[in-house]
């Protein structure tokens, strides 16, 4: 006995004897990132948080696995795995290879500390998968809505887990217009569009409001299981804007005391006219947009104003050889859009703005001195 005590004492004093504390298992738990929120087939970015701890303070390595299940049968292989603290499912699967829709999501989490001890039991969270409702996305023609001008409005309906164009599982989509308080005068007519397939339903309407205001287009989509989604699109409808001469060449006359010398044959042209519906140059292949109308006139030397009724384009040429040196010629262009608002300023005004914005002129004048 004394010998044993001596050995123990010797070992302790020499440092050769120690007691290793027992490693303990970590503990883990799964927390949905949004507790209580329903998860549907086809949902994206469904997130789960892992809560882990280790009594020994070790780092806990996590392993997530997600399985899709139909009834009590889960797919043998996970559809996504991760080792992060947060498990972010890219997309919840819809159906298995046999076409059977999944109804449950099984999330499994395992934890292992630095010494290899695993958390017991591993965590399993079963999440019921609901029917994914329709999704509606709007787009419109790329321009502002203007009174009396049709605007294409398009709704794309998608459904993660139901075909949107199946004859056996009809999909219902209805359109409704909420009018502003001051008007109920509008047209909403079918506008055929392409692009519909099993997963995308493309619908179009041509919407024409006959008054200004905020109009609301409401689309209701109902999937074959009766799940309904309603989306609104507010369409601010504005009054037609007047066209503005935006760019021209050569320099126009803005001061009555100045003239432009005409030394060579010169093309007087409007390069750009801005307008909400009738710009110049026109926009090709747009069934609604038109183009600016040009009305030219000329005051020959010593004469009075003559309308150039044969000229409807954006340019007129003058040749000094048609005149005498020193002759004064006044060339004028006035522009209108489809609403033909008269350019009603006095004839002596070199420019004319029918709006409060003086920089938006509907008239240009070139006072030319032949050199």
């Amino acid at each position: 006995m004394h010998v044993i005590r001596l050995l123990v004492l010797t070992s302790v004093l020499s440092g050769c004897f120690y007691t290793d504390p027992i490693n303990q298992r970590p503990s883990i738990a799964i927390h949905p990132a949004k507790p209580g929120s329903a998860v549907s087939r086809g949902d994206r970015d469904v997130k789960f948080d892992a809560v882990s701890s280790d009594p020994d303070g070790d780092t806990v390595a996590l392993t997530w696995r997600a399985y899709a299940c139909n009834g009590s049968v889960c797919d043998p292989k996970e559809f996504q795995s991760s080792a992060d603290t947060m498990f972010d499912l890219i997309m919840v699967p819809l159906a298995n290879a046999a076409g059977e829709t999944y109804d449950t999501l099984e999330i499994r989490l395992e934890g292992r500390d630095a010494l290899g001890a695993t958390a017991k039991p591993s965590q399993v969270l079963d999440v019921h998968l609901g029917d994914a409702g329709p999704k509606i996305e709007f787009r419109t023609d790329p321009r502002n809505a203007v009174v009396n001008a049709p605007l294409g409005i398009y709704a794309e309906v998608t459904d993660a887990d139901d075909p949107v164009s199946s004859p056996t599982h009809p999909y219902s989509v209805t359109w409704q217009v909420m009018t502003p308080p001051t008007s109920q005068d509008f047209e909403l007519v079918d506008k055929p569009v392409s692009g519909t397939d099993e997963t995308h339903l493309e619908l179009g309407r041509s919407f024409t409001a006959h008054d200004v205001g905020n109009w609301t287009i409401e689309v209701t989509a109902t999937d074959p299981l009766g799940l309904q989604t309603v989306e609104d699109l507010t369409v601010p409808v504005a009054a037609d804007q007047l066209p503005c001469v935006a760019q021209w060449a050569p320099a126009a006359t803005t001061d009555p005391g100045t003239t432009l010398p005409l030394t060579d044959p010169t093309l007087f042209q409007v390069l750009v006219a801005t307008d909400d519906l009738d710009p110049y140059p026109s926009v090709p292949n747009d069934p609604v947009l038109g183009t600016t109308e040009f009305h030219w006139s000329i005051v020959p030397p010593g004469g009075s104003r003559e309308q150039l009724t044969n000229v409807t384009g954006n340019a007129v040429a003058l040749d000094p050889d048609s005149y005498m040196p020193g002759d004064l010629v006044e060339l004028r262009v006035e522009i209108q859009d489809r609403n033909h608002r008269a350019v009603s300023c006095p004839d002596g005004d070199l420019t004319c703005s029918l709006t409060t914005d003086a920089s938006c002129s509907q008239r240009l004048t070139w006072r030319v001195e032949v050199r």
């Binding site: 760019q247 432009l260 030394t263 093309l267 026109s282 926009v283 000229v311 384009g313 050889d321 005498m324």
Partner: protein
């Protein structure tokens, strides 16, 4: 190495210097990326001008520290391979791909790890090896507050659309003043060494954008007592003050064909586009004009006689010595003919108040212009106008005896052109046939579709153009039909085009009313598209005018676009031009 034996760096090294290279507009912007902290990257294409069937290698050259890797994306190509040297990052610094068809590909590379460079992007156009090439001028006019008008030449290959982004040089702002002691009213025209001229009318002070290159600045004062003057302006050097004065006087005399002094003739001189003041002869035929010309370049002298003289307008060009008096003499021949009493009719009916303009060019020498020992023969152009009486007969109207033409305007816009031979001054009648309504149908290039909303412009040429250049225009109806009321006897240049871009313009350079095609086919079109930006501005340029012009025409045709469009709210444009095929 490419078949051409060279590799072209498709981006301009001068971008950062604000100098746009030869064309003034930086096309194909984006190949070089210059980040704020000094890093820059360049994409190098081999071959530089690929054709369908080529294998294209793209190398990213990054001038900056810390590059970790490259992530490539090629628009319209699914299969690319790393072709850089060595392994790892270096191996990823270049990619290769096959281009089996003529197409445009936008190559984008993300540069990972660099503290400065983030990405570079470049569009490469793969050409049709059998396509014809054609050059067009592109005139780009951004809003004046952003940048001055600019031009570049582009090469278009037959049979394929082209992507042509443009980065416009904003240049610099000139705040200038035209003075003659104090600020004065003036016309100012700026002409860069490379690029289009543009102008402004000022009451003295003005502000404008100019490209960063030398310009000539022509100042024409509104006051005819002050001589127009040409300045040279250099970026960073100016000037910004443009003083004008009376200039240098030059006197002379104008004598009519009998050697008598000619009063009320107008004399103007011009040198290299710079005019003198306009001088009017006194009763003794003398005049004094003021100029700012140099002593070396040719000078053009133009004499416009009074309308009642029956004389032609004279023009002569030579290195006249303006230190000497200018002697101008009309040739004794041709004599004049008075058209007084000549009936103006339409289908035998007199045409009261018809405006008759007699035009034409005289054969041979119409006069001489002499300064000291330098003498030049002058050409003669006839332009005499008169209004018929209420009975439809011409008043006293002297014209030279020659083979001429009469342009008769029966009513506003209602023209006819008649031959008028006054060589023998025999009595004759000026008949003005009614305008001829020419009709036709505008169709696409393959004649398979009639085009509603297409347009036709008939621009006068020949005798009618000597009287006026006002065009006749029409738009096709829903079935593609058009109708043009054209002056009988007149010639026109016809320009068929479609604002909707369903075909490219088709021009007929010289047609009469009877020659207007009943079936006008537009040319096959290719599209040029792209994005317009101004260097130094993050936003795209909206409402910039883009005109496609012929590469080497002159006069009005030089500013008459083949096709025109404007950028939309995103700075994008698309324009149809003739396919050179």
């Amino acid at each position: 190495m490419s078949r051409f034996g060279f590799v072209l760096v498709l981006v301009l090294a001068l971008v950062g210097c604000g100098f746009g290279g030869a064309d003034g507009i930086r096309s194909d912007a984006g190949g070089q990326s210059d980040d704020a902290n000094g890093c820059s990257s360049v994409l190098i294409f081999d071959p530089a001008s690929p054709v369908a069937g080529d294998h294209i290698k793209v190398t990213a050259q990054v001038f900056g520290p810390g590059v970790l890797d490259y992530v490539w994306q090629v628009d319209g190509v699914s299969n690319t391979h790393y072709e850089g040297p060595g392994t790892g990052t270096n191996h990823h610094s270049a990619i290769g791909f096959d281009a089996p068809t003529a197409n445009s590909h936008t190559v984008n590379v993300e540069i990972l790890g660099s503290s400065g460079c983030s990405s570079a992007q470049q569009t490469i156009n793969v050409m049709n090896p059998n396509g014809t090439l054609v050059m067009y001028r592109v005139r780009l006019t951004p809003p004046a507050a952003l940048a001055p008008p600019q031009e570049t030449l582009i090469q278009v290959h037959g049979g394929q659309n082209a992507n042509r982004p443009f980065a416009v040089d904003p240049g610099t702002v000139l705040s200038g003043t035209v003075t003659a002691g104090s600020a004065i009213d003036a016309y100012v025209k700026f002409t860069p060494v490379l690029g289009p001229a543009f102008d402004l009318v000022t009451t003295g002070a003005f502000t404008t954008h100019l490209q960063l290159q030398a310009h000539t600045v022509l100042v024409i004062p509104q006051n005819n007592a002050l001589a127009p003057r040409l300045f040279t302006w250099m970026p960073g050097m100016g000037p910004n003050a443009f003083p004008v004065d009376a200039g240098t006087p030059v006197g002379g005399t104008v004598l009519d064909r009998g050697g008598a002094p000619l009063a009320n003739a107008q004399v103007q001189l011009e040198q290299l586009g710079v005019p003198s003041t306009i001088a009017t002869t006194a009763a003794n035929g003398t005049f004094t004009a003021h100029h700012t010309f140099d002593a070396t370049d040719p000078i053009t002298v133009t004499i416009t006689p009074p309308a009642t003289s029956g004389l032609a307008r004279l023009t002569a060009t030579a290195a006249f010595d303006l230190t000497k008096s200018i002697q101008i003499s009309y040739a004794a021949s041709p004599a004049t003919c008075n058209l007084a009493g000549t009936p103006v009719t339409r289908a035998t009916s007199p045409q009261p108040n018809a405006l008759v303009t007699v035009v034409g060019a005289l054969v041979g020498t119409a006069g001489t212009v002499t300064t000291g020992g330098i003498s030049a023969n002058a050409t003669g152009a006839v332009h005499v106008a008169a209004i018929a009486s209420g009975a439809g007969a011409l008043p006293s109207m002297l014209v030279p005896r020659a083979a001429l033409s009469a342009v008769i305007e029966v009513a506003a816009g209602d023209f006819a052109v008649a031959s008028l031979d006054t060589s023998t001054c025999a009595a004759q009648t000026l008949d003005a046939p009614a305008a001829i309504v020419a009709t036709g149908q505008i169709e696409n290039a393959t004649a398979t579709t009639t085009l509603a909303g297409a347009r036709v412009e008939a621009v006068p040429i020949g005798a009618l153009a000597l009287a006026n250049l006002i065009p006749v225009e029409a738009t096709s109806d829903s079935s593609g039909h058009f109708a043009l009321a054209l002056a009988a006897g007149a010639h026109y240049a016809l320009h068929f085009f479609d604002p909707g871009g369903r075909g490219a313009p088709h021009d007929y350079p010289d047609e009469t009313a009877s020659g207007v095609p009943g079936e006008a086919l537009l040319n096959a079109a290719i599209a040029i598209s792209g994005q317009v930006t101004v260097i130094g501005f993050p936003n795209a340029v909206a409402n910039a005018s883009i005109q496609i012009l012929c590469a080497d025409c002159t006069g009005v045709a030089a500013s008459q676009p083949i096709a025109a469009t404007a950028t939309d709210g995103t700075g994008a444009y698309r324009i149809a031009v003739p396919d050179p095929m």
